[in-house]
Amino acid sequence: MKFLAMCSTGLGSSFMVRMNIEDIVRELQLPDVTVEHCDISSAGPESADVFFVAKDLEEATAGLGDVVVLNSIIDKDELREAVKAAAVRHGAL
C-alpha cells in the first residue's frame, strides 16, 4: 500500500507530513506501506492508494481517489487517526 503526502511545491509541508506518516506507520507496525511525497500537480490517481493533503488544497485533489484532508499538517494526533482509518479502509489494520 502506498501513502502519498502532497503540497503545492512538493518541498515543504508534504515532506513534513510524510515524515510524520512514516513515524506513525512504524508506531502502528503497518506492514508493506510505502510513504512518499510530491507536488500535487505531478500526482495522478495511480500514484498512490491514499493521498494526504492540507485542507487548502482539497479542491485540487478531485479525481485522485482516496484523499485524506488534514486540518493541520503538524497535528500528529489528527494524522494518527487518519492513518489508522486509511489502513482500516485498505485492509492493512
Binding site: 503540497c7 503545492s8 500528529k76
Partner: protein
C-alpha cells in the same frame, strides 16, 4: 541540525502590528542580510502566498514561508519571526491567523531534507511546540531547540 541553522541572530520578535506581506518580508530579513537568499526569493514567497498559497499555514498559528530553491536560495537557512502583539493573517483571512512565521530556504535536496525533518519533529512535538510559542526571547528559542535535539 536545526540548532545550527536557527541561531539567535536569525530569530526576531516584533510587537508591531503587521500585514502578512510585512511579516514575510521581516521574517526573511535576517536571511537576506546574511546573503542566504536573494531579494527575488522574498518576492517569490510573497507571490506564491498572494496566488492563494495559504498552504504554508501549518496550523497552531505557525506558518513556514518558502519558495523553490531556484527562486534565489543561496544557502540552506531558516529564520523565525514571532509576533507578540497579535497575528498577521495570511491573505487577511482570519482562519489563517499566523503569529509565528518561519522562513525556509534550501539549496539542495540533502540539506533541505535534514533541516526540514528537524523542524517538522520540533513543531509536531506538542510540548516543544507550546514551549516555542511561549518563548519570549531568541535565547529561549535556541535553548529549547538545543534541548529537544539533545534529548533525541
Amino acid at each position: 541540525m536545526l540548532s545550527e541553522l536557527l541561531t539567535e541572530e536569525k530569530i526576531r520578535f516584533s510587537s508591531d502590528s503587521l500585514t502578512w506581506r510585512q511579516a514575510v518580508t521581516q521574517v526573511a530579513e535576517p536571511l537576506l542580510a546574511a546573503g542566504d537568499i536573494t531579494p527575488g526569493y522574498v518576492d517569490a514567497m510573497i507571490d506564491s502566498i498572494a496566488a492563494g498559497g495559504t498552504y504554508i499555514d501549518l496550523g497552531y498559528g505557525i506558518a513556514l514561508a518558502h519558495a523553490r530553491p531556484e527562486s534565489g536560495a543561496v544557502r540552506t537557512a531558516i529564520s523565525m519571526l514571532r509576533l507578540t502583539d497579535g497575528p498577521a493573517p495570511l491573505l487577511d483571512r482570519p482562519e489563517h491567523a499566523v503569529d509565528l512565521y518561519f522562513c525556509f530556504a534550501a539549496v539542495d535536496a540533502t540539506a533541505h531534507t535534514q533541516a526540514m525533518s528537524s523542524l517538522a519533529r520540533i513543531l509536531s512535538d506538542t510540548e516543544t511546540r507550546e514551549a516555542l510559542r511561549a518563548a519570549t526571547s531568541a535565547a529561549d528559542v535556541t535553548k529549547l531547540i538545543t534541548r529537544f535535539e539533545e534529548d533525541r
